[in-house]
């Protein structure tokens, strides 16, 4: 089993406050990996550390290492922009850029100085993969803000796909979305899992049970338990994991 991402003795600090207290986690190539846990358990920070978006936060500091295909992403010679294209992220709130639908999806590829035709093809392909093409194909130049919440989130997914990433991180992508949009997004994630390594922070346990292959349970900065879907949800080892899964605490 070759692992796409290996996290070794990873610690993270915002100034003096420690948010992740040493985690070892291996995420297999392709498939959907869920990071379960209540709020403030360090999941969002963990996700952002994988594509170094955490660098933006002033006073952020980390220890240990994160390997992508065996290469430590924090080495000096790593091109951060290149890393972020390989490891795309979708935020917990639909965040379209203040541009048209087309411009949003074309934003990434345009930075790579690709030709017009090539960009157009990429945009169309990504929108189709994100199951949004039919909704927007005749209003590509309308403002992205005019789309519904579910559509906007799928636009964000298409935007990431347009860069041909290897890993897709999703931080509670469906929180605040209606059930139909949630189902559509989960469906497209399931289709994508053959081609991409998907790491998702589900907004509830049922979502994790439905779509992920493996899951890990984190609580206030510690990794409690990790395992395949079939084991962790049917007979969890730790009491706190079972309490969380059965919904005894939030």
């Amino acid at each position: 089993m070759d692992y796409k991402i290996k996290i070794e003795a990873f610690k993270f600090f915002y100034g003096r406050e420690q948010v992740i207290n040493g985690i070892d986690l291996n995420i297999p190539k392709n498939g959907i990996f869920s990071l379960l846990g209540p709020a403030k358990s360090g999941i969002t920070t963990m996700l952002r550390a994988v594509n170094r978006l955490s660098d933006i936060v002033p006073g952020a500091r980390m220890e240990g290492s994160i390997l992508l295909d065996g290469k430590n992403i924090n080495d000096a010679d790593v091109n951060v922009a290149e890393l972020r294209r390989r490891v795309g992220i979708v935020f917990d709130v639909p965040a379209p850029l203040p541009m048209s639908v087309y411009e949003n999806v074309a934003f990434g590829p345009k930075l790579l100085k690709k030709g017009k035709a090539e960009i157009r093809a990429l945009v169309e392909e990504s929108l189709q993969t994100a199951a949004l093409w039919d909704d927007v194909k005749d209003r590509l130049n309308t403002p992205a803000q005019s789309l519904s919440g579910g559509q906007q989130q799928r636009l964000c997914i298409a935007r990431v796909l347009a860069l041909k990433p290897e890993v897709i991180l999703l931080d509670r992508p469906c929180s605040g979305l209606d059930p139909i949009s949630t189902a559509k997004i989960e469906e497209s994630l399931i289709q994508l899992k053959e081609l991409y390594t998907i790491v998702i922070a589900p907004h509830n346990v049922q979502q994790a049970v439905r779509i992920s292959d493996r899951a890990a349970f984190m609580l206030s900065g510690d990794l409690i338990e990790e395992g395949a879907n079939t084991e962790i949800f049917s007979n969890p080892v730790h009491k706190r994991t079972s309490d969380y899964i059965t919904g005894r605490f939030g």
């Binding site: 972020r84 795309g88 965040a95 203040p98 934003f107 964000c156």
Partner: protein, 283 residues
């Protein structure tokens, strides 16, 4: 006091308040309307093609004011061409590249205070620094540079506020798609802060055009058409001031004032239109 008495008192108080507020608003409108109408009524009869194309003659008693219009436009262009890049650049540096620290707070505070300095002091500074020390003499350049110094603090402040209103999520999204800090700024932050920055520029243009004290001692008060950056030129506001305060010609004074008000209103409308079209294209 019984319940309905209290209600009646409350209702009458509300009516009184409503009347007070409506009358305040109406009186402000009346005053504004009165000032603008008075200027236009006294000024417009004088405004003719000749008034716009000929240069003033006989101390401004006759002829047009074309040289002052050109002077005003040139000086304002020089001021904005210099103050805008430096002001917006500083605003981006303060908003994007530095963390909130004592230094940034001091810079912001000084910019704020300098924005409040009376323009006459800028005029004094401009006269001694640009006209004499740097040897630019009474010229469009000296006037433009002095005004640039005067509007710089305002542009820094308004631009920084505009940049700060851009939601942080846009920056994160842009970077998460592989954009560098610079690409994020000019492809995402600048376009969405443009409306605020443009308002700041329009405010500064309005203030430069309306300026007299800072310009009399730097751009001079020559009535000839400026031929180069170094020729002295009288702006419309200065021309109005001299004609009105020297009692040389009331009609031409009000003609100039009318054109000034129209010019300022015209700039507001045009810039807002440009910004709307730019943003609409971008959306």
């Amino acid at each position: 006091m019984g319940l309905n008495a209290k209600n009646k008192k409350a209702r009458s108080k509300e009516r009184a308040a409503k009347i007070l507020i409506w009358s305040a608003a109406v009186s402000v409108m009346a005053v504004l309307f009165f000032i603008v109408v008075y200027i236009l009524v006294k000024g417009l009869p004088v405004v003719s093609i000749g008034f716009l194309t000929e240069i003033p003659s006989n101390m401004g008693r006759s002829g047009g004011i074309s040289s002052t219009i050109v002077g005003t436009v040139l000086i304002t262009l020089v001021a904005v061409a210099i103050a805008a890049p430096f002001g917006i650049g500083t605003a981006f540096y303060l908003a994007e590249y530095t963390r909130e620290s004592i230094v940034t707070r001091i810079i912001r505070f000084c910019a704020e205070s300098l924005a409040g300095i009376p323009s006459i002091v800028y005029g004094l500074f401009g006269f001694i620094f640009f006209v004499i020390y740097l040897g630019f003499g009474y010229s469009v350049l000296s006037g433009g540079l002095t005004l640039a110094f005067m509007i710089l603090p305002t542009i820094i402040r308004t631009s920084e506020e505009a940049i700060k209103t851009v939601p942080n999520i846009y920056r994160e999204v842009s970077m998460s798609l592989g954009a560098s800090k610079w690409q994020t700024i000019y492809k995402v932050v600048f376009p969405s802060a443009l409306r605020g920055i443009a308002n700041g520029i329009v405010l500064s243009i309005g203030r430069s055009i309306a300026e007299t004290a800072a310009v009399i001692y730097t751009a001079g008060s020559v009535l000839r058409m400026p031929s180069s950056m170094f020729s002295s030129s009288r702006t419309m506001a200065v021309h109005f001031f001299i004609l009105a305060s020297e009692g040389i010609s009331m009609e031409n004074a009000f003609g100039t004032a009318a054109l000034l008000v129209i010019l300022i209103f015209f700039i507001n409308v045009v810039v807002n239109m440009l910004v709307n079209r730019f943003i609409a294209k971008g959306r």
